[in-house]
């Protein structure tokens, strides 16, 4: 299928529930190769869950996730592990291994999956660290890094095995403006230079719109809008406008649904 060559990930009719709650109810989307695709939506809509479904850490109730031509959820454990070497994931917290220094963290996937001699591993690690600007921080322990630095180390580790695709989970959340700028720049330049495909999951509208080629907006278990950043900007959907501009009230209400206010105050029981 030529579709496979164009899209590194195809998600078809994905359904997933947590307990009684439907997180995804028939989501379909395509991630084109070589591009930066953003998946945006309010907190708790299931963005992280979607990345875990793509990585095969969770199983959907129904639907398919095709990554680079293989159906992620029909693979054996061994095949799944091999597939994961082709995808890097940057967790929200960085997820660095806290008992190893920066160098060993970046070397970890190389030492686990290759039998390269130590001098070669050293060169590879230094190349990756140089790419994120932290070659000089190689001897620091994770607890000595700032949040932005920890994410950059995690990024160096994610590209250690030269994956085809990187998934970023909320890369900008909780960053100061400077590290935010650094990360935006890094994600974009790595995508170009290494010929990667990137998926960014985020609710930081401005930064994400700046680098994304295409955006999917996710809410209530469905894709409710999609398009290039410019197109979405012009969307006439009230929901899209509220999300992109952060209005306090709109289709998404400020108040969680409740009984009528005065009746509630006067009734005296919970």
């Amino acid at each position: 299928m030529s579709n496979n060559e164009q899209n590194i990930v195809s998600i078809r009719n994905l359904c997933f529930s947590r307990g009684a709650r439907k997180i995804f109810d028939g989501v379909s989307l395509e991630i084109p190769r070589g591009k930066i695709t953003a998946i945006m939506g309010p907190s708790g809509t299931g963005k992280t869950t979607l990345l875990k479904l793509i990585g095969g850490q969770l199983r959907p109730a129904s639907g398919q996730v095709i990554f680079d031509g293989s159906d992620v959820h029909s693979l054996s454990t061994r095949e799944l592990f091999n597939l994961r070497k082709k995808m890097g994931m940057l967790f929200q917290s960085g997820a660095l291994l806290t008992d190893m220094n920066v160098f060993d963290n970046v070397a970890f996937p190389l030492r686990e999956h290759t039998r390269l001699p130590e001098p070669l591993i050293r060169s590879l690690v230094l190349i990756k660290l140089q790419a994120v600007g932290l070659r000089g921080a190689r001897m620091l322990m994770p607890n000595e890094l700032s949040g932005g630095m920890a994410r950059r180390v995690a990024l160096a580790r994610a590209i250690a095995l030269d994956p085809l695709m990187i998934m970023y989970d909320e890369p900008f959340t909780g960053q100061d403006p400077i590290s935010m700028g650094v990360l935006v720049h890094l994600i974009k330049s790595l995508n170009q230079i290494l010929g990667l495909t990137s998926i960014i999951v985020s609710h930081d509208v401005r930064e994400t719109a700046e680098i994304a080629d295409y955006i999917y907006l996710l809410a209530d278990g469905k894709i409710i809008a999609q398009g290039a950043p410019r197109e979405l900007e012009q969307s006439d959907s009230a929901w899209v406008q509220q999300f992109l501009h952060g209005y306090a009230d709109g289709p998404v209400h400020f108040h969680y649904s409740a009984d009528e206010y005065f009746a509630d105050l006067l009734s005296g029981v919970n």
Binding site: K52, G55, Q57, F81, N82, R84, K85, M87, G88, M89, F91, Q92, S93, A95, L96, L97, T98, F108, P109, E112, H113, A154, R157, L161
Partner: protein, 259 residues
């Protein structure tokens, strides 16, 4: 009434679910022996933090328990004019019971709770998920070496506890209360049987080490990945390990020393 049965039902289902998850977890951890065999340094590091770092608490507790046994034993035995048998009494109590049991309880409090908290925090900070996404099995990499370290260290710690306890009993009995040194040791030597006492004590501590380590690791791995979840799991580790050790001790004692 209906409520009561509904709750009973869901508690039962939760308990069975946990047993099932625990069994899978154990099998998964056992499947990592090959992985750890290729990386012995992972095991050595855990043996250091689970075993070596428990030396101090085990030694000091062993010393005091032995000293108390020396005192109490002397008071009781001297009523019958049998204080020469103090060595046997101290050694038998330690090797058969107190060594394995008390060191397992201390192990659960010192090493088990630390294991649960460590693994729970690794889960909460997405280190385990992160490993999975790097195509490394976190159970084989993180759990198996800790499990093996617990299995290996527990009998050694129990032996250390008993040995130091005997010295504590000797210090009090022979050093302070004037029991004859020669009969203290010679009676001990002739009455303590290698197979019946020492091997059985070792088997006990192996079983306790297995359960306490498994409980600690499983509670950490299975916990809710929040600060409250980790703290509850740590408490459950200490409580459940204590129950498991004491309950198993009764069963093993009945089986081993019944005849």
């Amino acid at each position: 009434m209906l409520n009561f049965f509904t709750e009973l039902g869901s508690a039962t289902r939760e308990a069975f679910g946990k047993i099932g998850r625990g069994t899978f977890f154990l099998l998964h951890a056992l499947s990592g022996f090959g992985y750890v065999g290729l990386r012995p340094r992972l095991l050595l590091k855990q043996m250091y933090s689970v075993g070596v770092l428990s030396f101090l608490i085990i030694s000091i507790s062993g010393l005091f328990v032995g000293m108390v046994l020396g005192l109490q034993g002397f008071y009781i035995l001297s009523d019958f004019g049998a204080e020469e048998s103090l060595g046997v009494m101290v050694a038998a109590s330690l090797v058969r019971e107190l060594g394995p049991v008390v060191s397992a309880l201390l192990f659960a409090g010192r090493a088990g709770s630390a294991l649960t908290a460590e693994i729970g925090l690794m889960k909460a900070t997405e280190q385990l998920s992160g490993m999975e996404m790097m195509a490394v099995d976190p159970v084989k990499r993180i759990i198996t070496p800790r499990f093996l370290a617990g299995l290996i260290c527990m009998p050694l710690l129990a032996a250390l506890f008993s040995a130091i306890g005997v010295m504590g009993g000797h210090m009090i009995g022979v050093g302070m209360l004037g029991v004859d040194d020669g009969s203290f040791w010679s009676q001990m030597q002739s009455s303590i049987d290698f197979r019946h006492d020492i091997i059985n004590g070792m088997i006990k501590s192996l079983v306790f080490g297995f359960s306490a380590t498994l409980i600690a690791l499983f509670e950490g791995y299975d916990c809710l990945p929040t600060s409250e979840g980790v703290s509850r799991a740590t408490t459950r580790t200490v409580v459940n390990s204590a129950f498991a050790v004491l309950g198993l001790d009764f069963i093993l004692t009945a089986l081993m020393f019944g005849d």
